[in-house]
């Protein structure tokens, strides 16, 4: 009843008034209300009654003395390895951040990928004999070393220009010299269009017989292999890029085992290395960060446990 009539501020004033904790102005205000409003007096009586009862609450005797012994207040000795853990976690975190930065910042990445570039260089430096076997679309740079030319059935009496059209040019007129850098001379039959040229122009009669077409297709699909190439006479010419040819008569039509030359396989393994180096660095950084966080948390928990 009274509770609903008085505001919480009124109760606070009455409570403080009872304890003599009001300033003179508030005290006068409360006394005016007490004389004018009976609910104020009733509320004050209730508070006084409550306080009187609480003051009569039994005091419990202490079960023992709480005086301290020297052993109780000895400074807690923190094991030396706890600060070590904290500092080591900071060091590990720094290393991890450096590793992350080496992957994200271009300047750092240049330093970090030095080994990767070396791997790429070694790949580029693979024997040119293997290049035609890798991809027909891969045209080497113009300033590369003299490519190897493979002839069908033996060396020509004179230079065969325009066979197979313009290698890799796609849409060239086929009149480019096979010996020029970047040109790729393909099959004898223009219908095959191995080099992608539109049409080949035969400027000089072929001095050696053309291989039968049915025999060419399987060879192109399976791609020539190292043992077969080693049996073919090669003549260095100026220019670059893979030059296709056919196998000698003795090997034509035969199904040869598809093996990868040692140099080629090493190039393939070198290709995967740059990628894995970056990934390994990121994995190492993640592991180090997790280790740093673990060490830090363990040090904090152990310290809290010891100090408790």
């Amino acid at each position: 009843m009274i509770k609903g009539q008085l505001s919480s501020k009124d109760w606070e004033l009455l409570s403080s008034y009872m304890d003599g904790e009001l300033n003179p102005r508030d005290k006068a205000r409360v006394e005016a209300r007490l004389s004018a409003r009976p609910e104020f007096q009733e509320a004050l009586d209730g508070l006084r009654r409550t306080k009187a009862i609480l003051r009569k609450a039994p005091i419990r005797k202490v079960p023992r003395n709480f005086t301290l012994r020297a052993a109780d207040v000895q400074p807690v000795k923190t094991p030396r390895w706890i600060p070590t853990m904290q500092w080591s976690s900071a060091a590990v975190a720094l290393v991890a951040v450096f590793l992350f930065a080496s992957q994200l910042v271009p300047g750092f990445r240049g330093l970090a990928t030095t080994t990767s570039e070396k791997a790429v260089d070694s790949e580029m430096g693979a024997p040119e004999v293997a290049q035609p076997a890798q991809s027909l679309a891969a045209v080497p740079a113009a300033d590369q070393a003299t490519p190897e030319v493979i002839y069908w059935g033996g060396p020509p009496a004179q230079q065969a220009n325009g066979l197979g059209g313009m290698g890799g040019g796609g849409g060239g007129d086929g009149s480019v010299d096979c010996g020029s850098p970047g040109a790729m001379c393909g099959g004898a039959d223009p219908k095959l269009e191995v080099g992608g040229g539109a049409e080949s122009v035969l400027t000089t009669p072929m001095p050696f017989p053309q291989p039968p077409i049915p025999n060419m297709l399987p060879d192109l699909q399976t791609q020539p292999t190292e043992p077969a190439r080693s049996a073919i006479a090669a003549e260095p010419v100026t220019g670059s890029g893979p030059i296709l040819g056919v196998r000698p008569d003795a090997d034509q039509g035969a199904v040869l085992p598809e093996t990868i030359a040692p140099a080629e396989s090493s190039a393939v393994s070198d290709e995967a290395e740059p990628r894995s180096t970056g990934q390994l660095l990121l994995i190492a950084a993640s592991v180090l960060l997790a280790l740093a966080a673990g060490l830090m948390i363990a040090a904090i928990l152990l310290k809290r446990k010891l100090l408790r």
Binding site: R48, R49, K51, A52, I53, L68, V73
Partner: protein
């Protein structure tokens, strides 16, 4: 040797001087801890921990009421204990209903809302009533009303002990008293002499 000198020597590392202060305030500290925690063993542990903490942090004492400063240590220790209880609440052993022999799932059987009429010792009833009503208060209200109404500290000391402004102390105390007034009214029949005593206080 006065209190200021004892405090000074304790700050210098004199454990005997500090123990003399402990003897002065241990009863008040233990009773505050008991009213806060409503458990003898827990109150004992809290009191001991509070005095150890007080000795270790004695350099942080910046003058003023040393009693209030000690009560602050006790209050903080009790808050830690209450937080720990909230984190790891203990599951009460549930009694078995005699009619169907099934466990009573509602733990309200622990709360003895109606004081036993068989208990004729009024002081025990008073203790029971006060403990019951104080435990029904929020923790912050509990600390304030115990320090002011049970232990007789003034508002400024409680403000120091709680680390709260005077206005907050006044507000909490008024609300705590209002709740206690309503709660204790339910025990009027069991502790009539104490209510009569209250009436005498009012009429005087």
């Amino acid at each position: 040797m006065d209190e200021a000198e004892l405090i000074h020597q304790a700050t210098q590392g004199n454990l005997d001087a500090f123990n003399r202060l402990v003897l002065t305030y241990q009863e008040m500290a233990f009773n505050l801890a008991f009213r806060m925690l409503n458990d003898d063993a827990a109150a004992e542990d809290a009191t001991q921990t509070a005095f150890i903490s007080a000795y270790r942090n004695l350099r942080a004492y910046r003058g003023g009421s040393f009693r209030a400063w000690v009560m602050r240590m006790v209050t903080n220790t009790c808050y830690d204990e209450l937080r720990r209880r909230h984190r790891r609440p203990t599951v009460p052993l549930e009694p078995v209903n005699v009619e169907d022999e099934e466990e009573i799932e509602n733990p309200s059987w622990l709360a003895d809302d109606s004081p036993s009429p068989e208990d004729q010792v009024e002081s025990k009833e008073l203790e029971k009533a006060i403990s019951h009503c104080i435990q029904g208060l929020p923790e912050d209200f509990r600390a304030v009303v115990v320090m002011v109404d049970v232990q007789g500290l003034d508002y400024a000391e409680v403000s120091d002990a709680m680390g709260k402004p005077l206005g907050t102390i006044k507000s909490r105390l008024a609300r705590a008293r209002g709740r206690l007034r309503d709660c204790l009214a339910g025990f009027r029949e069991l502790i009539p002499s104490f209510f009569r005593l209250g009436e005498e206080v009012i009429s005087s």
